[in-house]
């Protein structure tokens, strides 16, 4: 009969992030083939990501080389800061986008001297909401929380803190001025999210805790190329 139609129900069960996830898996595998690991560094704006990386580069100078993919809404100020301390850094400006995705990272990586590096740090856009939802191809995620923020921040931003492999409490030198921040309360909030990741308390300014941080970072060094199949995070 002309004009009649039928309704077809089609079951798909396709992840909407499938395209990004495939690119991210490619980034991870490519880095692993080069004997490299990547860390996704997340925090709210102003928690001290770039300052920590500057201090890290000074601490590890001559023995462990970082390269940085720097995500920002605009300006290349952070990448310029890192270059001044001898860290190869490429700036990715996301315009109005609130996060890096795997495609942006994949395009930026060839601009780093990968053969000379021990570790790639992906410094994400300062934002604890959107970046947490996008796999950028890193092998591990670190979330920074400074003592000038609330110690209940993990409860407010469960996405970022639930999947972190390490939580860094930064700006510990300001602890005396921020005595309402209790590391134990921050830790309890992280545990409530079902995350058993370690917490590290440090100050990039005073140097306190930097040794432990650098040990954690250098411990991520990839096994000899070819032996690693993919992500170490769940």
């Amino acid at each position: 009969v002309p004009g009649t139609v039928r309704v077809l129900a089609r079951e798909l069960a396709e992840p909407l992030h499938a395209a990004n996830a495939a690119v991210a898996d490619g980034v991870r595998a490519d880095l692993a083939r080069r004997g490299l690991r990547a860390v996704n560094l997340l925090s709210a704006p102003g928690s001290g990501k770039t300052t920590l990386l500057e201090a890290t580069a000074r601490q590890l100078a001559g023995r462990f080389r970082l390269g940085v993919v720097e995500g920002d809404l605009a300006t290349d100020r952070d990448a310029a800061r890192l270059r001044r301390v001898g860290v190869p850094a490429v700036q990715v400006t996301t315009g109005n986008a609130c996060h890096l995705d795997a495609t942006l990272v994949a395009a930026a990586l060839p601009r780093l001297p990968l053969a000379d590096l021990d570790l790639v740090v992906i410094e994400n856009v300062g934002n604890l909401v959107c970046p947490a939802a996008f796999d950028v191809g890193a092998h591990a995620a670190v979330v920074l929380l400074s003592v000038t923020e609330g110690d209940d921040k993990p409860a407010k931003y469960p996405l970022a803190f639930r999947t972190a492999d390490l939580v860094v409490i930064s700006k510990s030198d300001l602890g005396p001025a921020c005595d309402d921040f209790a590391v134990a309360r921050a830790e309890a909030c992280v545990r409530e999210l079902g995350n058993t990741a370690p917490l590290l308390v440090l100050s990039a300014r005073s140097g306190a805790g930097l040794d432990a941080w650098c040990r954690w970072l250098t411990g991520l060094r990839a096994p000899p190329a070819g032996r690693l199949s993919g992500a170490i995070t769940p």
Binding site: R6, V7, E11, C130, A133
Partner: protein
């Protein structure tokens, strides 16, 4: 903030499926969304209402099924229901849990309106 970009990708995929099936239009888009996916259902629905204009899904309803948050304990092995901010084991209280469900963002399926096959009885 990325709900609009997500809708564009969603509709591109929905239209591709509809074309491959020879559909005239899409009557329903079904999503399965976990509270830990990082997407607000209400924002997504608003973005979708704008993004669907001019596509085969221009009149298609967006049905969002919310997935439950469930965890498995690495210590005692129990599986339990949890909340998006409370993911300890419901049986022993351990924080060492693994997420079984709750972070999914899936295009579960689509309902398509297609021309009736010759010799079959369709619905008007």
């Amino acid at each position: 903030v990325h709900e609009a970009a997500l809708c564009a990708a969603l509709l591109a995929r929905v239209e591709a499926v509809a074309r491959a099936e020879g559909a005239l239009r899409v009557s329903r888009v079904r999503l399965r969304l976990g509270p830990l996916a990082g997407v607000e259902a209400e924002l997504l629905a608003r973005a979708y209402a704008l993004a669907r204009a001019g596509t085969l899904a221009a009149a298609a309803e967006l049905a969002i099924e919310v997935a439950p948050v469930r965890v498995r304990c690495r210590d005692c092995g129990a599986e339990s229901g949890a909340g998006p901010r409370h993911l300890r084991c419901g049986a022993c209280g351990s924080p060492a849990t693994q997420l079984l469900s709750g972070d999914e963002l899936l295009l579960a399926g689509v309902d398509l309106v297609a021309p009736a096959r010759e010799g079959t009885t369709g619905v008007r």
